[in-house]
């Protein structure tokens, strides 16, 4: 059902396509801002300054925001390689963050070598469990994961709201947020004087691992076979399409949950209602712009991290709402969908 069997047509053409999609997005944003009566020049300047303007902005804003985008982008990539569209990463991210916080708050007596893996594992497990319902509904009842994962985002949002006003609320019970997690559960910083944390290593490591897994392992081959054509994979008699589909979606959810855990233990250090500015949806654009290739996702994640960081600066300095960058994301997705569509349509 999914329409992207990306046929990579050489790295140079891929690069040309993605660059033009990104530029088109920026041009259209400038146009919309001008038409709406904003100072587009100042907005774009703030966008640049907030993302690549200085070493500090690059490491503490751009790279820090790239980390969840790369992780979630890899999650979407893994699912769609098997034909599963995980539109529910926003919810899995939230559940991962909740679980990570719950563990992290009580990890004070543990050493960091135990506490951090425990926190990350809790996040991944929660993300996988959250996607278990869509997996079961798809395999047992044929209900598409697109709708179920999407609906669960709203349930997850309610769960997050409940967590920060209920069981995980800070001790004074005034603010809708949790207390700070134990120091041993916090990811170490990578650079002195910057907010860049070691989640970057996790994201890059996962990208490399998935690259090997998808193209060098039997599981990866089966996954791609099911994604390309589930009926053919099933008829070959060697591939249990349902099982491969399920495991891909579960791992996709686990990665999204890991993203939530990394965000809590590396950036926010506590649970908040508005932990994610829509990373789960932005990551879809990241995965598509990266042409569903691990290296591509890393590069696209960096670009969109810059966009998110710049969006914050745009709101502060030019009075343009930060959601404006979603226009760029939408244009990028639509352009990539048009340029990368399957040649032989099923319609």
């Amino acid at each position: 059902m999914t329409g992207f069997a990306w046929r990579s047509s050489g790295i140079r053409r891929d690069l040309a396509t993605t660059t033009s999609a990104f530029l088109l997005g920026l041009i259209l944003l400038t146009l919309f801002l001008k038409v709406a009566g904003f100072d587009a020049g100042a907005a774009i300047e703030a966008l640049w300054r907030g993302s690549f303007g200085s070493w500090y902005d690059f490491t503490s804003a751009t790279l820090v925001r790239s980390i969840p985008l790369v992780l979630l982008g890899l999650g979407f990539m893994l699912g769609s390689r098997a034909g599963a569209l995980n539109i529910g990463m926003e919810g899995q991210f939230a559940l991962g963050a909740i679980a990570a916080t719950a563990v992290g708050l009580h990890a004070g007596s543990l050493s960091a070598w135990i506490a951090i893996p425990l926190v990350l594992a809790a996040g991944a497990l929660a993300g996988a469990l959250w996607v278990l319902v869509p997996v079961a509904l798809r395999l047992r009842f044929g209900v598409t994961e697109v709708i179920t994962t999407l609906l669960l985002n709203f349930v997850a949002d309610a769960a997050l709201s409940f967590a920060v006003t209920g069981p995980l609320q800070e001790p004074s019970h005034i603010y809708p947020q949790s207390a700070t997690i134990a120091a041993s559960a916090q990811l170490p910083r990578l650079l002195v004087g910057s907010r860049l944390h070691s989640g970057l290593v996790i994201a890059l490591g996962l990208a490399a691992f998935l690259g090997v897994l998808l193209w060098k392992s039997r599981w990866g081959f089966r996954l791609r076979a099911v994604g390309a054509n589930p009926t053919a994979a099933l008829l070959s008699g060697r591939i249990a399409a349902g099982g491969v589909f399920a495991s891909a979606l579960l791992w996709s959810g686990a990665i999204a949950g890991l993203g939530g855990a990394v965000e809590v233990s590396g950036v926010s250090l506590a649970l908040y209602q508005n932990l994610s500015p829509g990373y789960g949806f932005t990551a879809i654009a990241v995965a598509l712009l990266g042409r569903l290739q691990p290296l591509g996702v890393v590069v696209a994640g960096l670009l969109f991290g810059a966009l998110e960081a710049g969006g914050g600066a745009m709101q502060r300095d030019a009075g343009v709402p930060a959601v404006a960058v979603q226009v760029v994301e939408a244009v990028v997705i639509l352009t990539m969908v048009v340029l990368g569509r399957r040649q032989t349509s099923h319609r």
């Binding site: 329409g3 709708i147 609906l151 949806f281 879809i284 939408a330 997705i333 349509s345 319609r347």
Partner: protein, 304 residues
């Protein structure tokens, strides 16, 4: 109490039903447009801008236009350029969140709207509105609720009695067979998508002008997606869509009625209720079919 809940349920169900009637036609054409969430949001902003400038009539008109324009983007990419419809719909919604954010900030400033927005008053239908229990709920509502009553039989006629409906259903059931018989599949589907956008836009208008009375960023909060669940639950039939809309309207309205009462149950449970209900409904309606992994999943091309 029951009367109040029913009145609130119908009011909340109105935008859901309007959007679902439009999406019903889209689904009959064999498509699913997740962009109607964005079209509804665009309609909501259009209604706020239009109404603040020159009254509710202009608001509804601008909402309709905004919905159609949003749907046109989906049609161009998903129907004409044959892009993946799920991804396209998601992107359209994403882009509309951004675009409405820009326009709302520019037009209404940081303070937001709502301060001076004219809203649609309830227009009681003489006689009927005095009926016990259901009278006020069904016949003392805004004009857009009555539009639902009008569109239900009209959409039924359109689907099952008109040539357009026949060609649309043929395009949905067997596109290549329809094309071989001279049906302009893309043109028919485009019309259905644009109609769906118009209905979603008006749905946004009813949300702003007859329910909330203001525009806020991302205010549709997934109502477009719920409309899609309603279409599936209602088996793509007007009567089913009407009943399902009322069910979801009630599930959302119950939080307004119960929120004021406090109680032991956390209010987030009521927030999650409509979405959990939508999931349950999808399972129950899928039980009758039996669709495996092969082929298009049931909700992408819901079987009647």
């Amino acid at each position: 109490m029951i009367g109040d809940l029913l009145t609130a349920a119908v009011r909340v169900a109105t935008p859901l039903a309007l959007a679902a009637i439009g999406e019903m036609l889209v689904a009959r054409g064999g498509m699913i447009n997740l962009g109607i969430e964005g079209a509804m949001l665009a309609g909501a902003l259009g209604a706020a801008v239009g109404a603040s400038a020159s009254g509710v009539g202009a608001g509804v008109g601008l909402a309709l236009f905004a919905g159609v324009a949003t749907a046109a983007v989906f049609a161009a990419v998903a129907v004409w350029a044959r892009g993946d419809e799920i991804i396209t719909g998601t992107a359209v919604t994403l882009g509309m969140i951004g675009l409405t954010g820009i326009i709302a900030r520019q037009h209404f400033g940081l303070a937001g709207v709502g301060l001076s927005l004219p809203t649609m008053a309830a227009v009681p239908i003489p006689g009927f509105s005095r009926l016990p229990v259901v009278g006020e709920a069904l016949f003392d509502q805004s004009l857009l609720t009555y539009l639902v009553y009008l569109m239900l039989p009209l959409s039924s006629w359109l689907l099952f009695r008109s040539r357009f409906g026949l060609e649309l259903r043929a395009s949905g059931e067997a596109a290549s067979a329809a094309a071989a018989n001279g049906v302009a599949v893309r043109r028919i589907r485009t019309l259905a998508v644009l109609f769906g956008g118009a209905m979603a836009g008006v749905a946004g208008a009813s949300l702003v002008l007859a329910q909330v009375g203001t525009f806020t960023e991302k205010m549709t909060a997934g109502r477009g997606f719920i409309a899609i669940a309603i279409v599936i639950l209602g088996a793509r039939r007007p009567a089913g869509v009407a009943a399902a809309s009322l069910l979801f309207g009630g599930a959302i309205a119950i939080q307004y009625v119960l929120q004021g009462q406090g109680g032991v149950v956390p209010y987030q449970l009521w927030l999650a209720l409509p979405y959990v209900l939508a999931l349950l409904v999808l399972v129950l309606s899928a039980r009758r079919r039996g669709v495996g992994l092969e082929g298009r999943p049931s909700s992408t091309a819901p079987a009647a």
